[in-house]
Subunit: 120 residues, 2 copies
DNA sequence: TGCAATACTTACCAACTGGTAAGCATGGAA
DNA sequence: TTCCATGCTTACCAGTTGGTAAGTATTGCA
């Protein structure tokens, strides 16, 4: 079930960056974690619409790709905390201009925005 | 067959930008066109591995989203030229930091590069 | 008459992606 | 003994994505 980490071959940098970020919820997870450490349940509640299966799968892949750190506390009930690694923060920074372009696109075409508790 | 232009609702800017750029060959097409106007056949030869079906489908969608301009010359055999619009050039510029991050990732993980005639 | 060149168009199909819903493990509280 | 909370795990299924391969239209050339 757990796929291997994404490796090439790649055609160019975009290709290599997209590979790590594509997946319906990945960039949103990165965005959420930019706000700081989050527990699994907090992420789930912060991303309305995500299924547990996809949230875990994407978190695992982001972890394999070195973007997210997973810390398990052996308690009952279990507690697991997710946070960005340095690499993850760098990726988020590199995504900023694209995000800005996207925000202008939303205005240009007058697209609706999904209601979200905390994401911008 | 021709899908409607991509519209929201979107969660954030990243979401709105990704929507326009996701598709196996889209960012590569944009990259190729950054080098200037290209005929359909030139694009096909410049992106080894792309099928005619997908190349046309992606070009049509990029055109619908205002990123690519399509110019038809009524000759025989037919000639069709594709080029970037201002919006397309802006998107490419916004993709640059991501491309740079991806290039570093390729080095970091020692990924292979696909052989391509002209793409970097 | 038939083939070449170019830019598509279409039908069909396999693989991938993501959703639903149920189950698992643990220990403490009721 | 049953239920709760949490963080998963699994099986199954439908929709989307992209590939292959064949067909279309037009004119010039052999």
């Amino acid at each position: 079930m757990s796929s291997p980490p994404r490796s090439g071959p790649y055609i160019c940098g975009i290709d290599a960056a997209m590979d790590v970020v594509s997946g319906k919820w990945k960039s949103l997870i990165l965005w959420e974690l930019d706000g700081g450490t989050r527990r699994f349940g907090e992420l789930r509640r912060g991303l309305p619409g995500v299924s547990e299966k996809m949230l875990i799968q994407h978190l695992r892949e982001l972890e394999q790709d070195g973007l997210v750190h997973r810390e398990v506390y052996r308690e009952v009930p279990p507690r697991v905390e997710y946070s960005l690694t340095g690499l993850g923060r760098e990726l988020n920074a590199a995504l900023e201009p694209l995000a800005e372009w996207g925000r202008r696109r939303i205005e240009r075409i007058g697209a609706e925005r999904v209601e979200l508790s905390q994401a911008g």
